[in-house]
């Protein structure tokens, strides 16, 4: 009986934006706010309960779409999903040894930081390093994706996932250091 929001529409089309890794974040934000301005349950506070339910569903979908497209990794994973690459294909992907060794080295650096004399400075350096690597993989992804090179797109995507995980661990450590 309850009709759900149109889930067949992809997130890019929901915002009226082209399906692409490069995105105008300000434009995305503006369209997001415009859509919420129409669909948010607060706009239906006096409507029938059916319309209220519908508003919650639509508004939640728009939130989900915005969160997915807002950040590069989310966008890349979503593009892969749209292209029919499953989570399974991703996890079966063989990462080259050089990258894994680099990851291990970064991880060891991270673990050693709390013991250092100047941990604050060290963590800042490490965060910079990880962010640089991330940007490089984002460029690699964009190139592969635009060139229809699925193998390399998957590879860049998986590497971004590794780096993103490391980045949040490094940020957690930074938080701990700041809080004392």
């Amino acid at each position: 009986m309850t009709s759900s929001p149109d889930l067949t529409q992809d997130y890019f089309s929901l915002f009226g934006l082209p399906v692409s890794f490069a995105i105008d974040r300000d434009e995305l934000g503006a369209r997001y706010r415009r859509l919420q301005g129409e669909l948010h349950p607060d706009r239906y506070a006096n409507a029938s309960s059916y319309e209220q339910r519908l508003a919650v569903q639509h508004s939640a979908l728009v939130n989900q779409a915005y969160q997915t497209l807002r950040k590069p990794l989310g966008r890349a994973l979503y593009l892969m999903e749209l292209g029919g690459v499953s989570q399974n294909d991703m996890s079966r992907h063989q990462i080259d040894g050089g990258f894994l060794i680099m990851q291990m080295e970064l991880r060891e650096k991270l673990e050693a930081i709390p013991e250092l004399m100047e941990p604050d400075e060290a963590i800042e350096h490490l965060l910079d390093e990880i962010n640089q690597d991330l940007r490089a993989e984002q460029r690699a992804f964009e190139q592969a994706y635009n060139g229809n090179d699925t193998e390399h797109a998957i590879s860049a995507c998986v590497k971004m996932q590794y780096l993103d995980k490391l980045l949040s661990e490094a940020e957690r450590l930074e938080a701990k250091l700041i809080d004392g």
């Binding site: 369209r31 006096n46 059916y50 569903q57 940020e171 809080d179």
Partner: protein, 626 residues
Amino acid sequence: MALLQIAEPGQSPLPHQVKRAVGIDLGTTNSLVASVRGGRAAVLADEEGAVMLPSVVNFSEPERPVVGAPALRLASQHPADTLVSVKRFMGRGREDALEEARRSHYCLSEDAQGLVRFTTASGDVSPVEASAEILRSLRARAESTLAGDIDGAVITVPAYFDEAQRQATKDAATLAGINVLRLLNEPTAAAVAYGLDSADQGVIAVYDLGGGTFDISILRLRAGVFEVLATGGDTALGGDDFDNVIVDWLQRSSGKDSIEPGQHRALKALARRTKEALSSESSVAVDLSSIWPDAPGVTLSRDQFEALIQPLVKRTLRACRRCLRDAELDQVDNVVMVGGSTRVPLVREVVSEFFAREPLLNIDPDQVVAIGAAIQADILVGNRPQSDVLLLDVIPLSLGLETMGGLVEKIIPRNTTIPVARAQEFTTYKDGQTALAVHIVQGERELVTDCRSLARFELRGIPPMTAGAAKILVTFQVDADGLLSVTAKEQATGVEASVSVKPSFGLSDSDITAMLQSSFQHAQGDKQARHLAEQRLAGWQLIEGLRAALAKDGAALLDAEERQLLEDATAALAALLEGTDAQEIKAQTESLGRLSEAFAARRMDKSIHEALAGVAVDTLAEKVGE
């Protein structure tokens, strides 16, 4: 959760009128009610001209609770019957509340679900019931000032309140006979109070140090949209704690080992006056002779006081730093101060230093939340159809599921914008398994035992299959109030599994029904008249909404036949509303509701198209070639 969404009996018989909506700040120490009148939001005063209602309820005499200042005067003689700071106990289990109760000298018991109750001369009282008395008193004040029944209220809660605490607040409002338009986070309300009249944009930090809770929120205001970027805080830190450190200091300085319950209340009142005086004086002489006749007089200097509260104030800055980080920002454009405790000079000093901004203080920090809530209530109730202000709030704590080994798997991380829906797939682990148990928790920790247990679900009616073959999609949905509901569906067969929710905290369905019934009997008793009024209101609201929708979109979205069908059904319902058959009204309202669903869905789609068409037709056309 759907089971607690019991609609308040209808009280606004006449549509097309300016509606009476109020904002309520249900505070730990004081509560306020505000309303927008003649385009201006202002707090409402009681008969004596006082705007702050002390959040105190005395239960010395059965059936006759005393609320506010008179209750406060009874506190010394009846410490165990006089409940103060009940907000700290909302949605809490007995274990959580023991430390609080020790300080306050309450006698605690618990109900069947482990929720805390206070033992008083009027029997056991829950924090929800005590809060409902406060809300009832504010409702009466508003109805006498505004000369009529209240159509709806926005009630504020600390942003950091978890699901159980929010649900408890909503339950209290329901018990008090208040139609809740929305639960609104206190910092968001404060930002609205400051932000609405200006076409400002920028990042606002709201530092809210109240009697019992501390909240920090960071919001971005752009094109009328308030977007909460991050929120944090401490549900057990506030001005009460400043009073407590003074009480401890007074006790130490007088060489006393123990305090009687009545003495504790008196000491605390003395501590509060001392604290308030220290906001303008550099030292204050404290006369303890009324409490301990043999005690020498003592003097507390502002420096000493600041040293005592320094660790507490520092705790608030840690939360500010974390919140800034969560918002991915280094600085803010404006700082708004909320709560009476921000009158303490040290607090102002430290906060303006931390954010490198002079805080905004032009609205009374005790009233700013109620005023913001009143503005939002005015918008939600429909008095400002042209307003484009919108609040996008977040959930304060992550929602997760118990997995193997008592670990938590996060489903919705904290600071996610609401409303939000996430789906998670489950499967069976035994052949022929027809039910699945799901345990939902809230919190940031990795172990289930360190998080708050919210609900346990049993999905039943799964068709028997081999282990791992069933695919059960469980969808978690958090609405705009921050309240959770869950639905489940078996994917392979399309069978909707039935879900029974048992909140681990909060009131059960039967609890609230029983409480409602008893409170109705107390109030007026005539259930049937009430039922009819409810059905009529629901009918009127539907007609009103539908007529407006038909006038606006009927011609564009419906063909002549569809439109005629809806108009006839609307007319039929309107005719029934003249009569007194509640059953028939209910049936016709439901039938018209179903009939209008397709129209509602088309209107929603139209909204999406219009929203995008409005952005920038040129760029849109360029980019997607429409």
